[in-house]
Symmetry: C2
Subunit: 435 residues, 2 copies
């Protein structure tokens, strides 16, 4: 019981995961939480609702990791096999836990229902294990051991899994104190991955105390720092490496700590006493969704318009019919984007307004305006002009839409930090249009 | 070379994945594609950028699966070890592939750059392997073998990985012809998971030809059907099981085939010649984002408003100041939701308008209106009244917002299919307000 938890294996269970019917987000979340407290996840595995496979992977992970955390397979139905797998892997038998029965009964009573036979099996646990109370559902978590290695089995639904982890698992974990892993992510916007790597140069050598790597997604290249070793040197080493990365990359690094680009931007604008409105066409509300994902965003973000149809572009934000007419530049043009931003500025009373109009695909592209063509315009209520930039973004419909939102946030940020506004990745053209 | 690919292992590589800095979506996508053609993914694994761990897992998967597909680790930098791992696992050496060098040179030439030494390592491959051309980036995929088992190593960025899989991997795969896996997902809205299970009854027994399971997320309980066996009987068996599930669950099943709730709803509305507008507060544009995620949504969805601030609720859609005043019912009320829907109907010219206003958290809740309280109103231009429903949704800010969008879509769908509109999950109250 006294061995420290240096490494962890994370297991997800379910046919819907192995067969690709659902996306596993639990392992990602658990990995973050474990690393936060100094336990290093060294493998994630996903297996089907198959008792033999489940037992084998529990035993294999117990042989290679100091700790195993699983999610899924604790539901009430016949395809939920975690209880049986834990019992078999730990050579134990299942018994009914009277405390768990009472907890599940209380859960049903809250909505005026009686505990049924189907849900009652959720109170089973290995005789030498424990149930972990679930305050947000009917499936208690389980604790048990395979040999010396502890296993925590949590329910699959994230809103049940997360509170059990925070309240009942995390306090029982035993991170190493003589060695830790510390990571830092510095996301950048504006350069491609190999250009970022060229600027980082020898900082990316694998033999350095702080390892530096990069990953790229939707116009954002994230620089990842990782230190592993003596806790006494961790802070100084990571701080030193961060300073070197910042010196080489400058203001293309946008993120401070654990905040999103939207959150950082909202913070900057709040400090400057600015408010922001949005006018979205091809992104259809996604940009507003990203901004309002940030708690407290209402201090800066006033709201805006989803002018998806041409009629709405005219009636809601006053885009001139001549722009949208067959002989005009059309809905995906600098003129239309600028008119949307101007109209949003005038009608919202916000200090800033950004607009997005483009062709997200899969249809609607042409030789002159291929799928991925997006115009983003941005204006300040005190400026005489609106700036519009054309991007040709890559990927499928979802990728183009998400990348367009990132590019819009990056444009506003360049202005907010007083950057010289270098060309963003995939930016093709920039025009200034008088208001 | 002639052994069929009955089962597959899917491997993701990268510290950013094991440590929880990035979410792996590639494995999910690949699992779907493999299952589509009758190859059954039996395990997903994620390992760090560690050569030994990488080689070990390649060898282990090659011993248990008929096919291994990996993503990641093919970038240009020193932490990209897939080339070396494949060479070592297959007891081979790395050589430079002249065709791959030329392809990477062409990629750089497109943006006026010359191939640099950093990217040149991406043209390395095991001497008995092959490079797979990447038309969307600098990292070629790799093909190789460990023993008799074929490995395909694809780059991590989805927009590079997916085209290589579709164009160069899928045509080379050899699914079994004597046995297949067929799955069907029937998502439902309105009942909890155990209520759905009670209605399904013995259809969920594990010994049936078509296995039936359930999973729950944000108000949607998905019924999953899976058949595995003789291809000659697959269609009839799955059709028969689907009919039985539909008979027991009726119109709470909302999805037909591979479409989202938003896509199904837009299809229903298009058939009926209806158009839809949105007025969003706490969801901030997410609902518009879901609707416009569907290609061709512009035939039905006109757009709408993000009335995030109270001022925007008044100025954009005409919510009366008395509703929002300290002595009024407030922004999260039936009156406000109804006024938003009415205002959106009048100003959009759409036949339908739905509005959402609520408290997504983490702050802003009270005893009378706890976090998760959401009012959703819905009106039809030909109706004299607007209907508003109060929900108390569970989970964190993101969960409440996504669930609110699902509930809004479900409300419109009940109307579109002429359902009697039974209570939705977590619905607490329903009022009708004259326009």
């Amino acid at each position: 019981m006294t061995k420290a938890h240096r490494t962890a294996g994370i297991l997800s269970i379910g046919d819907e995961l192995t067969l690709g019917q659902s996306l596993d987000t639990n392992s990602h979340w658990l990995a973050q939480r474990l690393l936060d407290i100094g336990i290093k996840p060294i493998e994630h595995v996903t297996v089907p609702d198959d008792l033999d496979a489940h037992v084998r992977v529990l035993q294999r992970l117990a042989a290679t990791c100091d700790l195993v955390i699983s999610t899924g397979g604790l539901g009430p139905t016949a395809d939920d096999l975690t209880r049986a797998a834990l019992a078999r892997a730990s050579d134990d038998e299942l018994i009914e836990d009277p405390v768990a029965v009472a907890q599940i009964e209380r859960w049903f009573a809250k909505s005026g229902r009686a505990l049924n036979a189907i849900n009652r099996v959720q109170a089973l646990r290995p005789s030498r294990g424990e149930c972990l109370e679930n305050e947000h559902g009917t499936a208690p978590g389980l604790w048990g051991r395979v040999g010396e290695v502890e296993l925590y089995c949590l329910p699959g639904p994230p809103r049940e899994m997360k509170p059990i982890f925070e309240k009942l698992v995390r306090p029982r974990l035993r991170p190493m104190n003589d060695r830790l892993v510390r990571t830092l992510v510095l996301p950048t916007i504006g350069l491609g991955e190999s250009d970022v790597a060229l600027k980082l140069g020898e900082l990316m050598r694998r033999d350095r105390a702080v390892m530096v790597g990069t990953t790229a997604s939707k116009g954002v290249v994230s620089v990842r720092l990782r230190y592993e070793g003596d806790p006494a040197h961790a802070d100084a080493q990571v701080r030193d490496a961060e300073a070197q990365v910042r010196e080489r990359l400058g203001p293309i690094i946008f993120k401070h700590g654990e905040v999103s680009l939207a959150a950082e931007l909202l913070g900057l604008l709040r400090e400057q006493g600015l408010t922001l409105a949005t006018v979205e066409s091809c992104t259809g509300g996604l940009l507003g969704g990203l901004l309002t994902d940030v708690p407290g965003s209402s201090a800066v973000y006033t709201g805006g318009w989803v002018t998806y149809s041409n009629a709405m572009k005219q009636s809601l934000v006053g885009v001139d019919a001549s722009i949208l007419s067959p002989s005009g530049p059309g809905a995906v043009s600098a003129a239309c984007a600028a008119a949307m931003a101007r109209g949003g500025l005038a009608r919202s009373g916000a200090s800033l307004c950004v607009s997005i109009t483009g062709i997200a695909g899969p249809d609607g592209g042409s030789e002159a305006k291929p799928v991925g063509t997006v115009w983003i315009a941005f204006g300040h209520s005190s400026d005489a002009a609106v700036e519009a930039r054309r991007f040709v973004l890559a990927g499928d419909r979802a990728n183009v839409r998400e990348w367009a939102c990132v590019a819009a946030l990056a444009m506003i940020r360049q202005r907010a930090i007083g950057d010289e506004a270098p060309k963003l990745l995939r930016e093709q053209e920039r025009v200034t249009i008088q208001r």
